[in-house]
Symmetry: C2
């Protein structure tokens, strides 16, 4: 049936059959600490799991952990869904005080002085001089001087006002379209959606001001709760693993991403942008 | 109010206030022929308008025009919604014969021997040696030998089986995620969604086989009709314009896309990938 063959063809496109050299060993899968997982619950059992990036944006992530511990987002909303751009949530009315200990004006954690990628993509992109993966599963870009987390699909950033604001972390967004890499180094990236991005990306688009804001408060999507996994009952903590990148098997995986294989692909690209080679993560078994 | 300021900030991000040099003259807006516009109607007044690219994929586009004239898609469905990838429609059951004159196996119109972009983006991307815009509003990439339409958000391609299939055009997809540029030159691109992409990108995701296929036939989204605008009653023909690219004002617009401006942006990127500099189009007034 053509449909199934189209499906197979597109399976090849989405996740090419990897050569054996690219297969991970069981030990390549490493647990992600529960304190790095942020769990957002929406109605109807919809759940979004975000991995936080404390190494890259420590003050913003400390804020986010405090906001979650204080249950600050519970009862707040997703108030912006901008097609081919971002879904944004937090306090749409800006009437809610920040919990004690949350720093209203963190430093501009937009980049990081040390570039320690353990892979190197073959070709450069228009926004950096090199891209690759950290040993523990983050996409990275560099200009040779500083490093940063790129604005790929599913990455989570801190909404901010005009300068000198950097955003408290109370309002967050996730990328749901083509990577808006022009935001790189202009805004703090604090994490990545590991699971449930479809609960954000398939929401009705907002229409207000051409910005994707919901026009009516009634259109906003209620947030039931946002918690650190480490603060959930142990039985209900989601467990995730990243694939360690500092080994030859991962390097082979990168090459396979850069050169998609027959029978679907006739012409391998010979390269990839970092957003089409996002670090593999999975649910722990 | 913070919300409005966030909004303004993101407005800057989405569409920076262009310098005067980048402003188009009224005469820069050129009509798109009605025979290049494909209008797909879904329930509840949802409408998707696609500009066809006959110059780049003439045989596939001729097929698509014949399929529309024969009302081949009427009553068919959107049967695949794959998050961060594609929405696909056509005949999910593969039981429908092609109309007379439709070529079941067109040539592989994956690239084009002449690269005639009239702009040049400052930096290269991992998938080409140069990118730019055609005079009449198409994004283009080249390797110095051939040219092709890149798989950017909203671009429309022809689903195909494994080689040597090129797809008839009966099954089409639109990109709804980060640009899958690895598909470039492996598949025929035949157009671009000009309006209504949100009616595709916000559909519930399919779950079947990890491919985004809807598991149950009842989940498929019915297509009411697909018509060439030129075959609609004149009063109901949508009219669109592209912005002519062969002028200094457009070159200034490209520079503005590559270097987003204060007060929101502190660090301009100095470059852009072609998918973040998609040719402007608009409804004709």
């Amino acid at each position: 049936m053509l449909t199934s063959l189209i499906a197979l063809a597109f399976q090849a496109a989405a996740a090419p059959p990897a050569p054996k050299a690219a297969d991970p060993l069981p030990a390549d899968w490493k647990p992600i600490p529960a304190a790095e997982l942020l769990v957002m619950k929406l109605a109807d059992e919809r759940q979004v799991v975000i991995r936080l990036a404390p190494r890259y944006a420590p003050v913003h992530v400390a804020n986010i952990r405090k906001l979650a511990s204080a249950r600050w987002w519970d009862g707040e909303t997703i108030y912006r869904v901008h097609d081919n751009y971002v879904v944004q949530w937090g306090d749409a009315t800006e009437k809610k005080a920040l919990p004690a200990g949350v720093i209203a004006q963190p430093p501009a954690e937009y980049d990081w002085p040390r570039y320690d990628a353990v892979t190197r993509l073959t070709r450069i992109d228009p926004y950096s001089t090199s891209t690759g993966h950290s040993a523990d599963g983050w996409p990275l870009a560099t200009n040779g001087m500083v490093a940063w987390l790129p604005h790929c699909y599913g990455m989570v950033g801190v909404a901010r006002d005009l300068k000198p604001s950097t955003g408290s972390g109370g309002d967050l967004y996730a990328v749901i379209g083509h990577a808006p890499r022009h935001l790189d180094r202009n805004i703090a990236i604090v994490g990545r959606v590991l699971e449930g991005i479809e609960h954000l990306s398939s929401l009705p688009r907002g229409t207000e001001g051409g910005l994707g804001l919901y026009k009516e408060a009634s259109q906003r999507v209620p947030i039931i709760s946002v918690r650190l996994a480490s603060e959930l009952p142990e039985a209900s903590q989601p467990r995730f693993e990243y694939r360690a990148a500092n080994n030859a098997r991962f390097a082979a995986w990168v090459k396979a991403r850069e050169n998609r294989e027959p029978p679907f692909f006739e012409l391998p690209a010979g390269g990839s942008d970092i957003c089409n080679a996002m670090p593999p993560v999975r649910r722990a078994s």
